[in-house]
Symmetry: C2
């Protein structure tokens, strides 16, 4: 057992600040440990000595006769540092600081918190919290928490296959209690509070190695590592409720636990790339938990709906489309067999409507389910029923369990009705690992979750780089310098040369392929296009006039290869708390009208980039919308891979904006590029203007 597992399976627990005083938080863990039957050693620590709830108290950690695995620190903030030091000296494995008054309380608190970490790290002890509500392990009845949930007679503590890790203590145990209410097998709950040392992801990583765990549920306010998340999700189905989606929410999260904010769409991309499920609220998190705890996988998408209520069946069909699943097409033999048992006013095709006749015809539902389950075109079943009560629900529950004997495929239930109408129904379904939901929409959504986590895991792309790394651009590098650097890495930049004389300009036109763009290069001339300083598609015959025209502006002429109109895309590489982020999307003039981009954390493979293109309207544009010829998608993908590789050593928080990349039917060209060094203020209006100015096609 590594030390973090002590949070849910410690064999020895010290409670610093243990007291008998009614209403004191320091009483609760001891009370709970005793009440729920913890079998390990408990060491109450209280300077007053004596006994606490019948156990001998130790006046300090130094007196505790063994190295305890887990210590709970429940003393006022001012006394915490000493308690942590005592724990470290006593060789404690994990110390959990429940006390508040640290980073969440301002600068002084943050300093005090940093001290705690320093003490812990020096000794090798792990520190959970501060400002958390501890942890619970059902199997060994580790009640290392003061949550009032465990003071209620209605709360049970049992071994169970689901694990919950929550940065927020209150939300964590609220969620735990809701999980119990619906009979989910919640076995482990850990709250991590301010995460001064141990993070939720670290705890989840430890949990994900536990064979008895069927799934991991996370509530996070910050996400610090996509690699850690990928590891967790590769071992166990994982769902995440990530707070701070909105700007205001992210600010509130930062002030709450000091969580590091990432742009929400980066978080989205990271969770997706890790193969985890992002959920919308606590109920959705528990719906995912219900799917995980079913311990079934769903690789295919073909879903059969069997319903006693026509209305529920229609809602389920609607939900399939919304969730990206499919209505299974039955084998004709299945339909023929169903027609023999279903009343004429029902429906023997998918969605199968067995009607309320199930109430009067015993075995009808079971027969239909067996036929549907035996159909090889069916990957999963949604069973819907509404107003049935008591025995009728139990009969259906038994029928669903029996279906597993025909074929053990994923089954979910939508039961739209009060729990009190059929108290045994839920128990039967839970025992059979058949998740039940109050609406067809939630039932189907849980199948979709199961489908997502059942797909083969994608590993991070490892491939040899396409080119040597480029040196970091100098701060304030201009467009020409930047393009020249990119060109040196083999990236497709239209070649150009500076012409002072007409002869040079004419030679230049020939050298760039016979069709050129002339740009006036005049120091201080910011808005070249407005000043008439950009002339497009200049050939040998028009070069002389163009040269003289631009010369009037003073300065030299940049002669650049003319790139005809193609599909305009944008490519960006920016920094984030989670690593460098690649952005690919619709570029050029369309950028401002349709913000249509896909994000992916670097590194990426060609498959990744192709998937990003498919997520945006670039796919349609590349395919040749409206009779245009298809664009060279492969060249674009290659350009992006090479760009990512060439810039791999650039500073993590630098920003590279390429817009547009013009993708032709043969090849792709970078027409404009801007670099922003880390910490530099970006004048985006200026960047945009520069793009307009340098883009070769008329806008």
């Amino acid at each position: 057992m590594t030390s973090l597992a002590a949070l849910w399976s410690a064999e020895s627990i010290a409670i610093i600040g243990a007291t008998e005083r009614a209403g004191a938080m320091g009483r609760l863990p001891l009370d709970y440990l005793q009440r729920f039957g913890y079998q390990g050693k408990i060491y109450p620590v209280n300077p007053k000595g004596g006994t606490v709830l019948g156990l001998d108290a130790f006046s300090s950690m130094a007196e505790v006769p063994e190295r305890v695995e887990l210590a709970l620190i429940m003393v006022p903030a001012a006394a915490v540092a000493q308690a942590v030091r005592d724990c470290a000296n006593a060789g404690v494995g994990v110390a959990v600081v429940m006390s508040s008054g640290f980073a969440e309380a301002g600068d002084a608190g943050a300093l005090a918190q940093a001290d705690l970490v320093m003490i812990a790290r020096t000794s090798g002890m792990r520190l959970v919290g501060p400002n958390c509500i501890g942890s619970v392990g059902g199997k060994k009845k580790v009640l290392a928490t003061f949550s009032p949930v465990f003071g209620s007679d209605s709360t049970r503590v049992e071994a169970g296959s689901l694990a919950l890790v929550s940065q927020s203590g209150a939300l964590g145990y609220g969620t735990y209690s809701l999980a119990q209410e619906r009979g989910l097998p919640m076995g482990i709950a850990v709250t991590t509070g301010n995460e001064a040392d141990v993070t939720a992801l670290e705890v989840a990583t430890e949990i994900s190695h536990d064979d008895s765990v069927s799934g991991v549920l996370l509530y996070l306010e910050g996400l610090e590592s996509v690699d850690a998340l990928r590891g967790i999700a590769s071992r166990k189905p994982t769902a995440i409720l990530k707070a701070g989606r909105s700007t205001a929410g992210a600010a509130a999260a930062a002030s709450h636990t000091g969580a590091l904010a990432s742009e929400d769409r980066v978080v989205d991309a990271a969770i997706k790339a890790a193969g985890a499920i992002r959920v919308n609220d606590v109920e959705h998190l528990l719906d995912a938990g219900a799917a995980f705890a079913s311990e079934r996988t769903l690789v295919g998408k073909r879903v059969a709906i069997v319903t006693t209520s026509g209305g529920s069946g229609i809602l389920a069909v609607d939900a399939l489309e919304a969730e990206g699943l499919e209505l299974a097409s039955f084998d004709p033999k299945t339909i023929a067999a169903l027609e023999e048992v279903i009343p004429a006013y029902g429906n023997a095709t998918n969605p199968v409507d067995v009607t309320a006749a199930v109430m009067s015809e015993p075995g009808l539902f079971e027969k239909c389910l067996a036929l549907v389950a035996a159909d090889p075109h069916v990957d999963a079943i949604v069973a819907c029923f509404c107003v049935l009560t008591g025995n009728d629900v139990e009969k259906i529950a038994h029928a669903l369990v029996a279906t597993r004997k025909v074929r053990d495929l994923p089954i979910v239930v939508a039961r739209t009705g009060a729990a009190a109408l059929a108290p045994q129904g839920a128990t039967l379904l839970n025992a059979a690992q058949i998740p039940a939901f109050p609406t067809p929409e939630r039932a189907v959504r849980s199948l979709s979750i199961l489908h997502t986590v059942s797909q083969p895991k994608r590993t991070n792309a490892v491939r040899p780089p396409l080119c040597a790394p480029l040196a970091t651009p100098t701060v304030g590098a201009n467009e020409i310098e930047l393009k020249s650097a990119l060109a040196s890495a083999g990236l497709p930049i239209p070649e150009s040369l500076l012409a002072t004389t007409l002869d040079e300009a004419l030679a230049g036109v020939t050298r760039v392929g016979g069709r050129a763009v002339f740009k006036a290069v005049v120091p201080g001339l910011l808005h070249k296009s407005d000043a008439g300083g950009v002339l497009l598609d200049i050939g040998a015959d028009s070069a002389e006039d163009a040269f003289h025209q631009l010369k009037k502006l003073g300065g030299d002429i940049l002669v650049e290869r003319f790139v005809p109109k193609g599909v305009e895309a944008l490519v960006g590489i920016t920094g984030s708390a989670l690593g460098r982020v690649l952005t690919v999307g619709v570029g050029g003039v369309l950028t401002e009208i349709i913000s249509d981009v896909a994000l992916h954390l670097l590194p990426v493979s060609a498959d990744d980039v192709n998937a990003m293109i498919d997520q945006t309207r670039l796919a349609k544009l590349f395919a040749g919308a409206r009779g245009a010829s298809a664009a060279d998608r492969e060249a674009f993908v290659h350009l992006i891979l090479r760009l990512a590789d060439a810039t791999r050593d650039w500073p993590a928080m630098s920003e590279l904006d390429i817009n547009p990349v013009t993708v032709l039917s043969d090849g792709a060209w970078i027409l404009d590029a801007a670099y922003v060094a880390p910490g530099t203020q970006v004048d985006h209006s200026q960047v945009e203007h520069s793009q307009v100015e340098h883009s070769q096609v008329e806008h």
Copy 2:
């Protein structure tokens, strides 16, 4: 009382097919009426006579000594027609046919159903169903249903301010039972089944005139009238769960109850235009019900969050942004006062985090709530708490109730925790009309619902038409004929003339304003552009060359006013089951890349059209994206109003496609138009091609 109100408040009820036999459906309504204490007259009808559950049975309706308000028909399908006839002859007000085996069972059933309607209509009796589960009225204990929900000891029947009307019987009573489970005051429930005569909207209309009703909840499989819906929503807050969103779902709905399918986005537009709320599932429907039953209005958007859990507060903040509400900015005095009572590790700004200190400091939550409620910058409060149990929850509930004395503003609760932890909490909140939800997200969503239904109702636009109606185009009318008709209604069509000679062409250029488009008019030449048959921006100097060039193709030349490049929009008018639908959106080449349109049922006002523009990227394009000059939005709006008026007498199911309308900085021009007569097959590839061909700007 009009006759439909008998469904929930009949003073006399006949039950045809009443029986004592245990397990028979015909026993249940009588059983329920007696058990729940119905005070009106009950007339069991059974050809065997005798007594049924202690009441004298009548052998036929003819023997019943009074005209009953409500008759429940619970006999096999084959006997229903006679029962309906008997009811009609006996002067029954409303007959409810519960029996199945009609339209939902195939063609023969549909014919039998049509007979029932004919019998009822001849006599003036209203007919509900067939294939429904009847109705319930809590105030008078009208249990006109056989739903098993009322056989459970856990079910209560009480007067309550919410009304539910559901096409689906099973889903309706399942929803009813869930409403009871969360303590919602569900007073009326009506199921309408196949809706052979009476529809859910008709029932809801009747309900919406009832002063004791606080809100209407609807489950519909088809939506037949937006006017009826607008009427209902103008009188009572209304929420709708409309099944058949997906194509497969719509097909299932049609097979289930024969519901007429409309394109889902038309349904969306209709519900929105009616001022009703469209919900996603039954829980969302009940969340809306909870908001309605609070009997509060929310006109502003500024929401205060008061939480005992930092995590819940952040989730609530995120939800505000997602739901279009705002985080209230407190008055500095409020913040100062909060700082005095909230612990340092909490937060005295919005979201207010009072922390778990509420458990140890009585009155803290109440004080904070009072301060927040008194702040004039606050329109509503979301109170969040998680793991609190028992008395702590009750204290908070009392504090929330007390807040109403400071200021009676909308308050919603997010309590993330099992009900069993604080059984009294829910009861207290329900009694105080404070809706409670398990997650902050759902609590905020309910406020958003309240905000939507609290906005001033928009009445249907009535304004004098801008022009006389145009005659319906002939089937197969070509573009030139169509444009000429539109021009005659004063719509802006670029003028054009046919030139055979060079002189005519030159005169034509002058006549159309000096800049023209030349188009070859050659019978049989389909792809003019490809054949080089379209020449743009021809002036006096280039006209002669252009004329000769096109003449080589054979045929005449169409000389048309040249419209320079502007913002391209599309305008469509199509038929639907709900009426004519106006579509406005991004047009021209962008149409295929970004499908970005807004829909509105006709008629529309200028405000409506402006709102549609604002829903799409047209707003941005019109404003002058990327330095372009602003487009003449007013001209575009006027064009649409005139187009709608000019075509007002065209067949309901005809289709008019205008794409593009080019909107310039001064004026807007219709460049292409296509008309599809009702029932005509549309070859959309051809339509699109024609648009490309005739559009005057280069693509």
